[in-house]
């Protein structure tokens, strides 16, 4: 029973971290139809900046998160403007290569600047210890990650369902040409969504740093994880991404606990099964 509970909490925390990082990817992929393998690189940049801000500059955790998210977005803007815009609508192979190229560059540059060691982001006092729930105690940072996931899901739901930007975003996802002819400035919608996506990736990279440690090959190690999660959920679908993250997080975590010698075997087996049955993802729109 104890194992079930701790596996459950770990799975939930892992799934939520996956969700925070990959939800931005899901939105941009639904919107711009870009197979983006460099999304993890932005999470990594966020982690690096946060680590630098806390360790070297001595900022607090909250401030560091803010600085890292803004910093990552600032770095991402020219990347979007000069590189991504060139591959919207290009064949998948082209998109794969461009984004692998970007990932490699980010890894190389991050190492040149920050060195090849593992980066830590010290947690504030409040998140360090365990939290006693009466019958069990849980590491506070896991609860924090879960809470962040819930908050992000809620905020995105609000943004997309309740604001005028959300209306434009949904219209552009459904039919970009139609939205443009109705007066939606899709380029701006694209740019803003990209910025939000990158910001969320950075945020997820930081709050998930305890589970997915920040190191030079981070962008490469999790490159496919995020892409897989998005395609399982269905690109462009927030509930789909949430479902996929929780499901795959649960499969991966319980696999690691119960059958560690199989590694990620069951994770990828589940991916194949789901993608074969739902080629557009669990909650993807049929086109």
């Amino acid at each position: 029973m104890q194992t079930v509970f701790s596996v459950g909490i770990d799975a939930l925390a892992y799934g939520m971290v996956l969700f925070v990082i990959s939800i931005g990817l899901s939105v941009t992929m639904g919107l711009m139809r870009v197979v983006n393998l460099a999304h993890g690189a932005f999470a990594m940049i966020g982690g690096y900046i946060a680590s630098y801000a806390t360790q070297t500059l001595g900022f607090g955790y909250g401030v560091a998160i803010l600085v890292a998210v803004v910093g990552t977005i600032i770095i991402a803007i020219p990347v979007e403007r000069f590189l991504y815009r060139r591959i919207y609508g290009a064949p998948e192979l082209t998109q794969v290569l461009m984004t692998i190229g970007i990932t490699f560059c980010v890894i190389g540059i991050a190492n040149y600047v920050f060195g090849p060691t593992l980066k830590t982001i010290p947690l504030p006092e409040a998140l360090r210890g365990p939290v006693d729930l009466g019958f069990r105690s849980i590491a506070a940072h896991k609860l924090f990650a879960i809470a962040c996931g819930v908050a992000v899901a809620g905020a995105l739901w609000f943004l997309i369902e309740k604001t005028s930007f959300g209306v434009k975003l949904r219209a552009s996802v459904d039919n970009a040409a139609m939205a443009a002819s109705l007066g939606v400035r899709t380029k701006i919608v694209y740019a803003v969504s990209f910025a939000v996506a990158v910001g969320l990736a950075a945020f997820g990279g930081i709050v998930g740093a305890e589970l997915l440690p920040i190191e030079p090959y981070y962008a490469l190690r999790y490159m496919v994880t995020f892409l897989v999660v998005v395609s399982v959920g269905g690109a462009g679908s927030i509930p789909g991404a949430l479902l996929a993250c929780l499901l795959l997080g649960a499969i991966d975590t319980s696999g690691r606990y119960l059958l560690p010698e199989y590694g990620e075997f069951f994770f990828y087996l589940a991916v194949i099964a789901i993608v074969c049955v739902f080629p557009r993802g669990l909650l993807g729109r049929s086109k």
Binding site: E92, I107, V228, S231, G263, C276
Partner: protein, 335 residues
């Protein structure tokens, strides 16, 4: 590209030697470059042999990606299957004749081609890419788990191939292995030239350009692609077997996503849809990698990344394709 430029439909006999000559020239160039490599880098034959093994993998990706339009990030599964098949045959079943090991590798690769093709071809676009990624991870984890046969993460060691034809023993300097590798690549090149020009090869090109039209012609797209996957698997499997024979170990990295992605990068760097592009891409990438990463692996990543971006932006047809376009333009001016 495999385009056949003949001047008249009515007189095929007159045009036939044209491509025959060109292929023989191509083969001669490959052998000449191989010979130059042998004499220029006598102490680095192991690297050259490894390049040739990976070249077979890149050629095999070209078959499905360049000629059929299937995007895959999981082709190392086929290469690794060949490597493990021949390695396991040698270590556990005493099949140590190198030619037999190559055959076993080809069969292993072809079987892996059936399995991964059957999975990957179910999807299109993003789903197809994700399936290919999942397949190579699945193979990787399975090989890791089956450590009794594969040696798991320690790798499969103890492969000691017999002399080729009982005469040419594998020496310490890797001369025999290099010669063996050159021979395999040359044979593969000739066979693949024939296949890509065959009726089947034409059908594959048609599928790449318009699968709906191919169906409207009464041909089966899935069946054809699966067949190409099997051929591709055999070629990749030969590459894997070559790797197992020449290095005498097989590691899990031969089944990795990283190798799959790198091989795809090599292909695109050289140019898809042409066997020369695949060879040029492999040689330039791996040679350059050896050169730069010896200094600093992270500089290497930065440079490859920048190179990839540059290729996508400025030379989408790759080194060979772009050179060909330039050459055509010069010829056009000359007329």
């Amino acid at each position: 590209m495999a385009a056949i430029e003949n001047t008249s439909a009515a007189k095929p006999a007159a045009t036939r030697p044209n491509w025959l000559v060109r292929d023989l020239v191509g083969l001669a160039v490959i052998l000449a470059v191989a010979a130059i490599g042998y004499f220029l880098f006598p102490n680095n034959l192991a690297l050259l042999t490894r390049i040739l093994g990976v070249a077979l993998l890149v050629l095999s990706i070209d078959l499905v990606t360049g000629f059929c339009g299937v995007a895959t990030l999981g082709h190392a599964a086929l290469f690794g299957a060949g490597a493990y098949a021949s390695g396991i045959a040698a270590v556990h079943f005493g099949i140590t004749d190198p030619l037999l090991m190559v055959v076993v590798g080809a069969i292993g690769g072809a079987l892996a081609g059936i399995v991964s093709g059957a999975v990957i071809l179910r999807g299109h676009g993003l789903a197809q890419l994700v399936l290919s990624i999942a397949v190579v991870h699945l193979f990787h984890e399975a090989a890791n788990k089956a450590s009794a046969y594969t040696g798991g993460s320690d790798g499969l060691s103890g492969i000691s191939p017999d002399p080729i034809f009982g005469m040419f023993a594998f020496d310490l300097w890797g001369r025999t292995a290099y010669g063996f590798a050159v021979a395999l690549v040359a044979i593969a090149f000739v066979v693949l030239r024939l296949i890509t020009r065959s009726p089947f090869g034409m059908l594959c090109r048609g599928i790449k350009e318009d699968p709906i039209r191919i169906r409207a012609m009464g041909a089966s797209v899935q069946g054809t692609l699966l067949k190409m996957y099997v051929i591709s698997g055999a070629v990749a499997g030969v590459g894997g077997a070559l790797n197992a024979i020449s290095t005498q170990v097989v590691g899990l990295d031969s089944l990795s996503f990283t190798l799959s992605a790198e091989a795809l990068v090599m292909l695109v760097l050289g140019g898809t849809g042409s066997l020369y592009g695949a060879l040029i891409g492999t040689v330039s990438f791996m040679w350059f990698e050896d050169f730069v990463s010896a200094a600093n692996p992270f500089h290497w990543l930065t440079i490859v990344g920048a190179l990839l971006i540059a290729v996508v932006l400025f030379a989408p047809r790759g080194l060979y394709g772009s050179a060909q376009t330039l050459l055509d333009r010069f010829r056009g001016d000359g007329k």
